[in-house]
């Protein structure tokens, strides 16, 4: 950082990041897939695809479908399992020299706790609990839509690791604040939101759903206003750092999330559209800070003005 430039560094739940921009789980593989398209060492952090205890095959195709200004996905947590992740993916991820946040998912509180213990290893900087995946029957989602189970789960994971624990919230609930409060009371160190909105689309010629899984998670610019509103609501209710996401395509969008209360942001679907989006978002945030005389990007968090 030159002395004249704004300070982009942020601290989220004890994770020191050189800037507030990270990848959203499941949209950036394990980093290496994008190595040829941007310099990963410039990122604030890398968040991995969900890791489960055992390998998962994922859902039958088609798994993705474009919708107006967004997309539906039903990948179904395909991943090689925690052991293979640690042995094969993590060593490469560490090479990029930025914090690694591992997104984890499980079928039971016990499984989440066991995963947390397994992943408490050198090279993992934090765990993000996917309590809100809409694409797998009887998984995550059923924790993420209910306060007592979210709390129980968060507590079990916090007790199983000394890593910072981020709880990723589902938007598919009546009042996201209640779930956020439950996670906070259980000892979570940060919250990330939002996961995808449950959606569906149909091929009218064949009269079949477009996705093999029938329903899927909606992401991309289409969900951004919902996500910004939820970050705003949660930020006013809970005193935990928030990682905001949902349809961020540009620095402008990222700043919107920060003003609403996010300490950091994650970029998901936009990576598919433009692999270098995160680089552009980081540069754009720096430009904004310069133009608006913001010395430290952290000053933007919650700087929304409502008269």
């Amino acid at each position: 950082m030159t002395s004249s430039g704004p300070d982009l560094s942020v601290q989220v739940a004890g994770i020191a990041m050189q800037n507030p921009v990270m990848s959203a789980s499941g949209t950036f593989g394990y980093g290496m897939e994008y190595e040829e398209y941007l310099d990963l060492s410039e990122l604030g952090a890398i968040v991995t695809k969900a890791v489960t205890l055992e390998p998962r095959e994922g859902n039958p195709p088609p798994r993705v479908r474009e919708t107006p200004a967004g997309m539906l996905n039903a990948i179904g947590l395909q991943n090689p399992g925690a052991r293979a992740f640690i042995d094969e993916k993590l060593p490469q991820l560490r090479e990029f020299g930025v914090p690694v946040i591992v997104n984890i998912s499980g079928r039971s509180v016990k499984e989440f706790a066991q995963l947390a213990r397994m992943l408490t290893v050198d090279g993992v900087d934090a765990l993000e609990l996917n309590v809100s995946c809409p694409n797998v029957e009887d998984e995550g989602m059923h924790f993420g839509v209910d306060c007592s189970s979210t709390g129980e789960l968060a507590r079990a994971v916090v007790d199983s690791t000394d890593l910072p624990v981020i709880v990723k919230l589902s938007p598919n609930v009546t009042d996201i604040r209640e779930i956020a409060v439950a996670a906070a009371e259980a000892g979570a160190h940060a919250l990330s939101l939002i996961n995808t909105l449950l959606g569906m689309s149909i091929d009218i010629d064949t009269r079949r759903p477009h996705l093999g899984n029938v329903t899927g998670g909606l992401s991309g610019p289409a969900i951004r206003p919902v996500a910004v509103r939820m970050v705003h609501e949660v930020a006013r209710e809970v005193d935990l750092p928030i990682i905001g996401m949902g349809g961020i395509m540009s620095a402008r969008d990222a700043i919107e999330f920060m003003l609403a209360g996010a300490s950091a942001v994650a970029v998901g679907t936009a990576n598919f559209v433009e692999p270098a989006t995160m680089r552009d978002v980081i540069r754009g945030i720096a430009d904004y800070c310069r133009r608006h005389d913001v010395a430290r990007v952290a000053e933007l968090t919650g700087a929304l003005r409502i008269d």
């Binding site: 897939e33 398209y37 095959e57 994922g58 474009e66 559209v273």
Partner: protein, 265 residues
């Protein structure tokens, strides 16, 4: 870096709803292998949002020229059909694994359905200059004569060529597979290559497996990233689980695919 900017030099209508794009793109012209694809950004905004994958049909490195055959099926391809000369496309590519090369002097069979002809034209073209050139036979099928787009580009690069349409408006009447079986019986090729609709590929795979002919297929699936990160383009693998069309494919050995699960939809 596997990305480039391409300029639309010329857009040729090659049949109803079918367009041949002539792109100026030195990077792709110099590096694309037959069977590889490009992931093209159609618009600048959020509609359409995602990139669209297209096979490379021909390249001419001396003229920085890349040809892409596009069939209009929806929003993105209809926009392409309206683009004016000079339009700039941002693209990722060349992506994926292309066709394995045939052995020297091998007798090979190419089976194309509709726009599936594009990557096979590129393959046939690339074989023209190899030493001990293989003997190339081709079958090209479609619903009607309009679907046999760019057939002269295909036929002129093969030793033997058979056209077949479902309504008999061009060539023989029937499906490609109706022609493939007697062709194989007449003279068994040492290797086959196919690209077209999934249903066609499944039958070609069955026929070739029955006759003990190694078959390479180019597969399609809706894509997100195109680079292996989202797992959106998965198709069922013979060994269980799924393989990614964008990364392990789009060209696979036919026995890598679980055709039974492919047919479930």
């Amino acid at each position: 870096m596997p990305r480039a900017v391409a300029h639309l030099k010329r857009r040729e209508t090659v049949g109803p709803g079918h367009y041949l794009l002539h792109l100026a793109c030195p990077e792709i012209a110099a590096s694309a292998q037959p069977g590889q694809f490009i992931h093209l950004r159609v618009g600048d905004g959020t509609d359409p949002l995602l990139r669209r994958p297209f096979s490379v049909m021909l390249t001419n490195p001396d003229e920085d020229d890349v040809q892409v055959l596009v069939r209009t099926v929806g929003r993105g391809t209809e926009l392409i059909a309206d683009h004016e000369e000079g339009k700039q496309y941002d693209l990722l590519g060349p992506l994926g694994h292309g066709w394995p090369k045939p052995g020297p002097g091998e007798d090979i069979m190419l089976v194309a359905g509709g726009v599936g002809v594009a990557p096979l034209i590129f393959l046939a073209d690339s074989l023209r200059t190899v030493e001990d050139r293989p003997y190339v036979r081709a079958i090209f099928g479609g619903a009607d004569q309009d679907a046999l787009v760019c057939w002269t580009e295909f036929a002129s690069r093969c030793e033997e060529f058979t056209a077949v349409t479902e309504d008999g408006s061009a060539g023989e009447t029937g499906l490609v597979t109706d022609v493939l079986v007697p062709e194989i019986e007449r003279d068994r090729p040492q290797r086959a290559y196919a690209c077209g609709p999934d249903a066609m590929l499944a039958v070609v795979a069955e026929i070739c497996a029955g006759a003990g002919i190694p078959l390479h297929v180019s597969m399609e699936q809706w894509m997100g990233c195109g680079v292996g990160a989202c797992l959106g383009c998965a198709i069922p693998a013979a060994e269980g689980g799924y393989v990614r069309v964008c990364t392990e494919g789009p060209v696979f050995d036919a026995d890598q695919i679980d055709w039974e699960r492919m047919n479930e939809r």
